[in-house]
Chain length 142, copies 2
DNA sequence: AAAAAAATGCAATCCGATTGCACTTTTTGG
DNA sequence: CCAAAAAGTGCAATCGGATTGCATTTTTTT
């Protein structure tokens, strides 16, 4: 049986694992991120708090990003979204799975079970990163 | 032998074909768009003029977009880019080919010879649009 | 040519992202 | 344990691209 309050240990471990000092704010934010089933924007995050400064959240996300705890998700809406990296992920820039953006509920899901398809480009183009965004209706909205 | 000045007819025809009234501004903008080999942002466009108002360009592009003469290209940079639709294109939202964004020269190319790969999603997700962005180094920069 | 409609240009606004700086909390070294 | 240094936080302000309001100009209609 777990005796820690609210099962906080895994959160602390995750932070430490990435070399991030566990401040109250960061613990809170990570807890929220862990609950999300889709990529969140700064705004999304902000609405989950009562009285938090946008900028602090912004910088918390920035710290998380720099330490590879989260990564940006480009879902084609122009708004930056974030998602947790998997524990073993060492993503240089962005992660490599497919993202699905629901045009109705505006949520962006990570389609973890899909591999990026192989794409043939003219010889001299050097691929560094592939981003596949699918737009449509998600399970709940279709 | 073509006798028209500067081969302007095709430009006028393109505008008319899409039901766009050919003002001086629009002819100029379309001519520039026809010369591009990659997707352009509003800024890119602006730098090709001496004294044009951003907003006019913006609205010109908007008109073109509404009449399906151009379409938006999302290259993951967060900045909206535009590219000409092919003559027979009737793209509802965005076009369906792959875009390549060079991280060095910042140009975004349309990879017209590549088909969008088939992607399997969980059953109840309804795909409306697929956008593939590849980042890396282009021919010239690699 | 006059009236109506469309296009244009300037100023201003909007909104998310980001920075500056002062204040607070945490860490470090004596 | 305390003082200095470092790190984190919060508020105000800035930045940059996108977009709108409105007055003026140009084009179309009658």
């Amino acid at each position: 049986m777990e005796s820690g309050c609210d099962g906080e240990k895994p959160v602390l471990e995750k932070l430490e694992y990435r070399g991030i000092k566990p401040t109250a704010m960061r613990i809170l934010v990570l807890k929220i991120l862990l609950k999300q089933e889709y990529a969140v924007s700064l705004n999304d995050l902000e609405t989950q708090f009562e009285n938090v400064d946008r900028v602090t959240l912004f910088r918390t996300l920035k710290t998380f990003e720099e330490h590879r705890l989260i990564h940006r998700v480009d879902d084609g809406t122009g708004m930056i979204k974030y998602a947790l990296c998997s524990d073993d992920c060492d993503c240089d820039l962005e992660d490599l799975h497919i993202h699905f953006h629901c045009v109705k509920c505006k949520k962006t899901y990570c389609m973890v079970n899909n591999d990026i398809p192989n794409i043939q480009l003219p010889v001299r183009f050097k691929i560094r990163e592939v981003n596949v965004i699918i737009k449509g209706l998600c399970e709940k909205c279709s």
